[in-house]
Symmetry: none
Subunit: 402 residues, 2 copies
């Protein structure tokens, strides 16, 4: 029996409510001896920590720095090495483009060519506004190729998403990207007989786009990469018998939540707004994923102080969540984003779970901080075990075996 | 190489003695700030803990509450998701019925029917005494069906075990249980050609029993479920090159020990008796599994005080075990049974190992308690790794690779 078969077998439905709050990139590294979380004044989190079980979690496994995709799959209880999300799909999720089960999503770059030779793989990193103009123009010109519907979505700068909708599409084709300048436009090749149709459509698209843009140097061709279908992931309703909802502001996280079958709740953008959305929908679901983005954004910017401020803002709003009195509450990150590294890192996430049947932390673990969580009663484990732990604490797992 | 191949390859025979003491359901949850183990006065355990390596163990994995079957397979070093023990086999083990390699064990319910319709799936939960009378009567009447030997064993109330012994029996048949009242007696169906004989025998048994009991309303038919063969598990003598023995009072645990090839030692019922049995047989084996049941029983009853008393009783007898001076001694639980939950739980087990070559615990981990063990030098790991750790400490594993 594998892990998923086990969970499907032992999970049961009940009315108990679970809330998982993800402060993106929460974990940090010390500057002057204290991390962002340790620097922030967080009386509410610290009070809660005193009454919770604490620990640290590795997003994937020790030493592995994850992107948002695998990090969130782990948080939702799925093996991020089993389910890989194609780059095209992630890109589509990131800009909010819906992708159906039969569709293909492709990550596109606008590029520059001269006499069929690629001279810039990013077309001079054109402004996003220019991108939107071009996409708007192309949308009118390229609606269909053979029997396949073509949809185009602007990304930032030179990036866009191409979606193919039709019958018998396959991801079993090569990227159409020479990967360096000075080489000719590269066409996609089918890796199997069945994929020939897809390669043909992609190549016709490249030619058609290059023709349409022949007078708009430097944006006069494209590269197509990460050609992918929507991954087949059993929904949380099947694996964990939950009725789950997501509250997130950025399309990527809504997309990731949708991938595992969560309903996406409409929300305004501030942390306060997200909590309002939680309150409004509290009766309709038994699992809530709440995603708070700015901790990560400021970490990526290397802005220690502003990351501290976001944590303090969340702390000040925490009592509104506690008032709902959920049966099981988790507060953690998807991965660490230390300001001094300015990027995601491999350091484990501070983790807190509050429920009814819990043990006490050692008396040296009293705050919600990286150092305190390292001494917590839960020890150090992998994020993939968070959801099972929440299920157990909500009495949503029955005994395995007699 | 898988885990079992690794162990078979690196394990070696030597004379060193290992004792694994399982206080069933030992781990608990705090009431007034202290768990059962933390409330109990355990000077001997605490002395021992000071000199031992401490940790916590998850029976299966984080969040998963195990039954006794999978929990003990883990303790014996076997993957409880790889080896699943059919319900019929567990029931047979639980009442002490031996099951051979070719036999089938089936969990039976006495039930009530009227004109072929099931009206009570438990025949009014008859007293166990009545059950024994009926089984005794049936044993004389149904000894064989075709070429298959029939054996019957009383369980509690309406439960019994049916054992089929003969050639070409298969577990690939459906349960003969309509699962709700108001439906007709359901017969077993073969799921493959090879299983047709078994389905026929089971169905003839149902008819014969129903005929024999036609005048003994409300006990006038039966349901048959969990039809299972003995699982094929490599014995501990093969995997770990051990000569293992079990000292247990309850049939279930003797059965589980037998499943992995332990000799079952005759013993009287008190903890003191079990330790006497250990002493008497100490020269004849190099691995002893000692099972103490009452910690779990009182946990299941929600009787905090009596669970405390059993722990104290064990503590007072511990010096008798220590006098044997085993090379490696483990004291832990199979799973937690907190009195406030009144059932098995997912919380990890306090764990102690005493051997020759060990590191010191942090100075804050000095007692044998859930909180202290959470700070132990061994950290938190899965029960399946206990036996390998004992093997290592007894120098029964050679180096893997050069």
């Amino acid at each position: 029996m594998n892990r998923e078969e086990l969970f499907e077998r032992i999970s049961i439905k009940n009315q108990k409510k679970m809330i998982m709050i993800i402060l993106d990139g929460l974990g940090g590294l010390p500057i002057n001896g204290k991390t962002e979380l340790e620097t922030a004044k967080t009386p509410n989190l610290d009070n809660l920590a005193f009454d919770s079980e604490l620990g640290l979690t590795h997003p994937i496994s020790i030493g592995v720095t994850p992107g948002s995709g695998p990090a969130h799959l782990s948080l939702f209880g799925y093996d991020p090495l089993k389910y890989t999300i194609g780059r095209g799909i992630l890109e589509a999720l990131g800009i909010g483009a819906e992708v159906g089960a039969k569709d293909l999503a492709i990550r596109g770059n606008f590029a520059t060519q001269k006499n069929g030779i690629i001279t810039d793989r990013r077309a001079g990193r054109i402004p996003s506004e220019k991108n939107r103009e071009i996409i708007s123009y192309l949308k009118k010109r390229i609606k269909k190729i053979d029997d396949v519907k073509i949809s185009l979505f602007s990304g930032e700068e030179h990036r866009f998403v191409l979606r193919l909708s039709g019958e018998d599409l396959s991801e079993n084709v090569t990227d159409a990207d020479p990967e360096e300048i000075g080489k000719p436009i590269l066409y996609s090749k089918a890796k199997s007989k069945k994929a020939e149709k897809t390669a043909k459509i992609l190549n016709k698209f490249i030619d058609k786009l290059t023709e349409e843009l022949k007078d708009s140097y430097p944006v006069n061709t494209c590269l197509l990469r990460g050609i992918a279908k929507y991954p087949k992931i059993p929904p949380m309703s099947k694996l964990f018998k939950l009725k789950p909802a997501a509250i997130a502001v950025y399309p990527m996280y809504k997309g990731l939540a949708q991938l595992v079958g969560m309903d996406i709740l409409n929300t305004n953008r501030s942390i306060r707004d997200e909590i309002e959305t939680l309150k409004k929908n509290y009766n309709n679901y038994n699992f809530f994923f709440i995603h708070i983005k700015k901790t990560d954004s400021y970490g990526e910017d290397g802005n220690f102080e502003k990351k501290v401020k976001v944590i303090e803002e969340f702390d000040s709003l925490l009592p509104r969540i506690l008032k709902l009195n959920p049966d099981t509450l988790v507060i953690t990150g998807d991965h660490s984003t230390p300001s001094i590294i300015k990027s995601h890192s491999w350091h484990p996430n501070p983790f807190l779970i509050k429920a009814k049947y819990q043990r006490k932390n050692p008396e040296t673990a009293t705050k919600f901080s990286e150092t305190s969580c390292a001494k917590g009663v839960l020890g150090i484990f992998n994020s993939i075990d968070i959801l099972p732990l929440m299920m157990a604490n909500s009495i949503k797992f029955k005994k395995y075996g007699a």
